[in-house]
Symmetry: C2
Subunit: 416 residues, 2 copies
């Protein structure tokens, strides 16, 4: 595969797409959603081929790979939801008047060519195409080998949608039948790829670390914390911690470690421990919280040092008693991954310190960590959660797929 | 040199600095400006050592390296100007209410540890320290070998200023006596350096390309264009083009190529050509504009293909007649470096197309390219001009040295 030739096509696609107005980009999204619905049968047949070929994958991976009618309808709906968002490229900001009298403004523009390297979920193919079209970017989509047929069928539907309204075909390129070397070439294509967003496990991230010479924003690992302060209301603390762990344990904004102020360990764990046990949560606790759990009739393993640095992504929770807010902040600084942290407290001073000092893409006061999500925050659909601070910190919605250029209006001003 | 140990110090400095409020950071800047003034003699003595040792450098480089009393006073003044800017970390934005009822806001936070790798101008040492302190970031400063004594003396003044007000000493680290290998280690220190800003020539940039694994924002090359449209007012066009080329030809926002609509070539070059000739500008012109220049009594060399891709940084200008706005846009897309472009026209439709379609950090209508500068645009002092689109596009002022985290206020909300 000639990756550079493919990226030249994507660049042409980006230029053509950037010239379309918001209505034309929305029309393309409508046509893509229609094409996905119209081609549901073909997409499901392609998916069945992928499933038949995938004999050696885990049940969890198989479930993520599997499409059915409802899931295909969900993909089309997700494209329409992106279409319904405001146009990020319509944003204009007045900055002010320069000292020479020039009028200074900012205008939002696309990043250019975005590459997404991801693993087996075929819905990502359509959702990423929708987000990049909405934001005026061309996209190169490199999905996993396991989903190759599904991705190709969805890519065909996207292409049909673009063609139906005369939108540039090169705006969305599904890079199928590509080798590891092709991905390495993509990651190294300085000046031709404006951003790579990798979405996947450790193997993919290691490959990105090794080969990336273009800008990368990682959908980062989430070791998320809830800290229950001395001044917490116990019922609220138990509800938030339970929700943060149990609502959907396999996702990045689920809580992995619960920190409890030493004075409240008994009360909090008496309220929360039995609920976690009923929900099947395995507990890894330090001595003080383990004693409190056992007093509440809940068994727990002794936590090891490694537990504080583990993203369980499962019904497993590390629990630790801390002496005070400072100790909680220190624990989070040492073990957090800049993703999400929540404090439960009625003490505004403690909350303000926590919100100010915790370095995470999203910090919350009296709310579940599960709210660090584009939809829940009112930011719209997203590409993932950035924990990198550069360019995007938190959910990468369509706005984070753009940048601002300066647009200056003069009347003949020159610099003196 | 143990670069990783030095970066650990910088991380501690960043954490300590981030806990200071704006008034405390401003007090540190005042103290640094005072210390630079108080130590002017020591700084000049160190600079004299550098000048004496630098026997084999060009006159231009020697001038950039040289300090005198006025220049030292200018450095202190620049620090006070940064101090006088608004605190970028005071910014709070209301995003809205999430569907669960949570209140969603954004709050500006520092990036963390910033490294600046630069060449012989010693004033950069103090100015970069001021910008990073203002924005709550720790900085590692790696200047050129030629300025080592000057940088150390300025670094001592910065340290004295920090100490005078009890600000964290590790917030500003001058990485002197460092080898090329040390710089390579710095560029590769993933997770320990949040941003590297290189400022220098091709050799430095090549080193960055080879070794950087941490995020980089380049102060990019400026091949800047002025396009004089068919509907331009000739006097205004000549004034803007003259200013863009001659006002300060050695800087990145100076014009390198003038594009003129074919219908106006004679009129524009009759007005502009003699002024450029008097100013000593050497002209490299395509056949049509060369003929027009010669008709105005101005001699020009024939432009070569390479001229369209050259950042002259000197009193040299490439001139080209173009058939229309589309041809001008095509030329800029092919040869521009995403830095600065200006259109001179009375035609609002042509201006809007130019402002919309040119992909550059700053696009101007009826104003000189020289305005792409933080101070002139009202953005304050800057680290340079980013042409990279990711994170910053245009002048990197204190705001671009920060990011925003999400701060969420709840009343016990959980996700359902």
């Amino acid at each position: 595969m000639d990756v550079l030739e493919l990226l030249d096509r994507a660049r042409r696609g980006a230029r053509a797409l950037a010239r379309l107005d918001g209505a034309a980009r929305d029309a393309a999204l409508d046509a893509i959603a229609d094409a996905i619905e119209a081609r549901a049968e073909a997409i499901l047949a392609a998916n069945a081929e992928d499933l038949a070929a995938a004999t050696d994958i885990s049940d969890a991976l198989r479930d993520r790979l599997r499409l059915d009618e409802a899931r295909v309808a969900g993909i089309a709906r997700a494209v329409r939801e992106v279409r319904a968002q405001p146009d990020p490229l319509a944003a204009r900001r007045e900055i002010g008047e320069g000292r020479s009298g020039i009028r200074v403004t900012r205008r939002r523009v696309p990043l250019g060519v975005i590459a997404i390297v991801y693993e087996a979920r075929p819905n990502v193919t359509a959702e990423c195409a929708a987000l990049t079209i909405k934001s005026g970017n061309a996209v190169v989509l490199r999905g996993g080998r396991e989903a190759a047929n599904s991705n190709r069928a969805i890519g065909d539907a996207v292409a049909a949608g673009l063609a139906a309204v005369g939108a540039p075909a090169d705006a969305v390129i599904v890079m199928d039948r590509s080798s590891r070397e092709d991905v390495a070439a993509l990651l190294g294509a300085t000046g031709r790829v404006d951003l790579v967003i990798p979405r996947g496990g450790h193997g993919l991230m290691a490959m990105v670390d090794e080969h990336a010479r273009v800008p990368v924003i990682r959908h980062g690992q989430g070791i998320c914390h809830v800290y229950v302060d001395a001044a917490a209301e116990i019922g609220m603390a138990a509800d938030i911690a339970f929700n943060a762990k149990v609502h959907r344990p396999g996702v990045c904004n689920a809580m992995e470690t619960l920190l409890v102020h030493r004075d409240r360990v008994e009360a909090v764990l008496a309220a929360l421990g039995p609920r976690l046990a009923v929900a099947g949560v395995a507990l890894r606790a330090d001595p003080a919280s383990r004693a409190a759990l056992e007093a509440a009739g809940v068994s727990a393993d002794a936590a090891t040092d490694a537990d504080w640095d583990t993203e369980f992504l499962d019904l497993v929770l590390a629990v630790r008693a801390v002496d005070d807010l400072d100790a909680a902040l220190e624990h989070i600084a040492a073990h957090g991954t800049n993703h999400t942290a929540s404090i439960v407290t009625a003490d505004e001073g403690a909350a303000e310190r926590f919100l100010g000092e915790v370095d995470a893409s999203c910090v919350l006061w009296n709310a579940s960590t599960r709210f660090n999500d584009g939809g829940e925050l009112g930011l719209g659909a997203e590409m993932g959660i950035s924990t990198s601070r550069m360019h995007a910190y938190g959910p990468m919605s369509v706005t984070e797929l753009t940048t601002e250029k300066l647009v200056v209006y003069g009347r003949g001003e020159i610099r003196s």
